[in-house]
Symmetry: none
DNA sequence: TGAATTTGTAACGGCGTGTAACAGATTCCA
DNA sequence: TGGAATCTGTTACACGCCGTTACAAATTCA
């Protein structure tokens, strides 16, 4: 399962989540599931999701509301599941910003086909996101300019980062003071999941530490959490 | 698929998008699709579109509005799809600036013929457009005069650019602080898609860097994003 | 304490990128 | 129209990034 799309299934029906999840995994997707809005947001925070399959009918916040909220600050493709195939639902779903909709009950194969189609289209118009325009982040005296991909030390010296180091640092900055597993870090930086005995994250952490830690032997900024992952300790301020 | 016209299909009906898209691709076009206005704008931002096939009836913003907006600041040829062949639609469509209209249901062959006709006409009158008259863009102290194709360094010295270098710089200036793939850059500058092992973009970037980067060994303006493409880092101001 | 597990990192090699050099294509000019 | 000058893509090779492997060090557990 390398470099495969990461699908988030949001449905209150456990059976649908499990069956659909297994089906998609068998067909080359990584899958995370959530039963309602709160869990959905948690999953979006924990992983780099490529596409959301969102049930229209949910307890608590319903799918339409979630969909509108998602659209407000992200461009993640959404496929809506609607209980009835009514025209009104379709219109409303598309109006609210869904990329496609599938009426229940659905054929998993058809859903998979639509997922692929939506992902293909999304890939074409991929980097429509403003890519952190002009934003900068400060931590422990350091300044990272997201737009210019430029890092400055507390003393004012420019430190050049390779693409991989930059991506890793961005992942840390976007999730500070949280333990991030190697799997999550790989997902954030490379959009793929870890293979067994995959040490690539360790290596990149080691290389990044050499550039930003005053003493790489006693790291302060990026701490190791044994059998957990890594933790970015400084507070991050963005502007 | 080289140097072929890049068609953008805007229609909320997935089936029409897919079928028509495949048909056009089979007949020597490159195709990108969008379900509604938001996706259409994203696609226009990401690619150099030669012609838009635009459905009159769309959820959210309807085709007429989109068409009028498009005409306000671009000359991209537009073919409207109208649900009924009513005279009024035709009149309104043409009034709003569409180059042709095709009533639904339509024969793909006929649509293709009209696309070719409109493209031929557009190609003839292409050089007639004043090409951003008198506009200039500033970035990192440099000034680029779009009309005169003239570049001035921060010190005030004139730097002559070849046509290819100029087109590349314009592509960067029109999409600053975004990672642009080699494929996108080829589309912007030459209107074609990349062949496997195509290094032409790399070469042009290398040549442009030599002219505008203070230190070509440590580029600041045009950064490389490994396995992603290139990124124009400075903020761009236009006047 | 010793074994098992986990992490740090040196070393190597595959692969993506930078660029020199050449050749084909295009433009310019008489 | 023909030849020169210029521009642009291809080829070839060097370099640097990054993942794998291997082994040492640190930590945990019995």
């Amino acid at each position: 399962m390398d470099n495969s799309p990461h699908i988030l299934i949001v449905d209150d029906d456990r059976e649908i989540r499990d069956l659909l999840g297994r089906f998609l995994e068998k067909h080359g997707c990584r899958v995370t599931t959530a039963a309602e809005g709160r869990a959905m947001r948690a999953a979006l925070d924990d992983w780099s999701i490529d596409l959301i399959v969102l049930d229209l009918m949910l307890p608590g916040e319903d799918g339409l509301t979630l969909c509108r909220d998602l659209r407000a600050n992200s461009a993640i493709p959404i496929i809506m599941l609607t209980a009835m195939g009514e025209e009104t639902d379709r219109i409303v779903g598309l109006e609210v910003g869904a990329d496609d909709y599938v009426p229940k009950p659905f054929n998993p194969r058809e859903l998979l086909a639509r997922i692929k189609a939506v992902l293909r289209r999304a890939g074409e118009s991929a980097d429509a996101r403003p890519a952190a325009n002009g934003e900068t982040a400060q931590f422990a005296g350091w300044t990272l300019d997201l737009g210019r991909r430029h890092l400055q030390s507390p003393e004012g010296a420019a430190v050049t980062l390779t693409a991989g180091e930059f991506e890793l640092l961005v992942a840390f900055i976007e999730h500070p003071q949280r333990v991030l597993s190697r799997d999550q870090l790989l997902d954030f930086t490379r959009g793929r999941s870890a293979a067994p005995f995959d040490r690539s994250v360790d290596i990149q952490v080691s290389r990044l530490r050499r550039k930003i830690e005053p003493d790489a032997a006693a790291p302060e900024l990026i701490k190791t959490v044994r059998s957990g992952g890594y933790l970015f300790t400084p507070a991050v301020e963005r502007s």
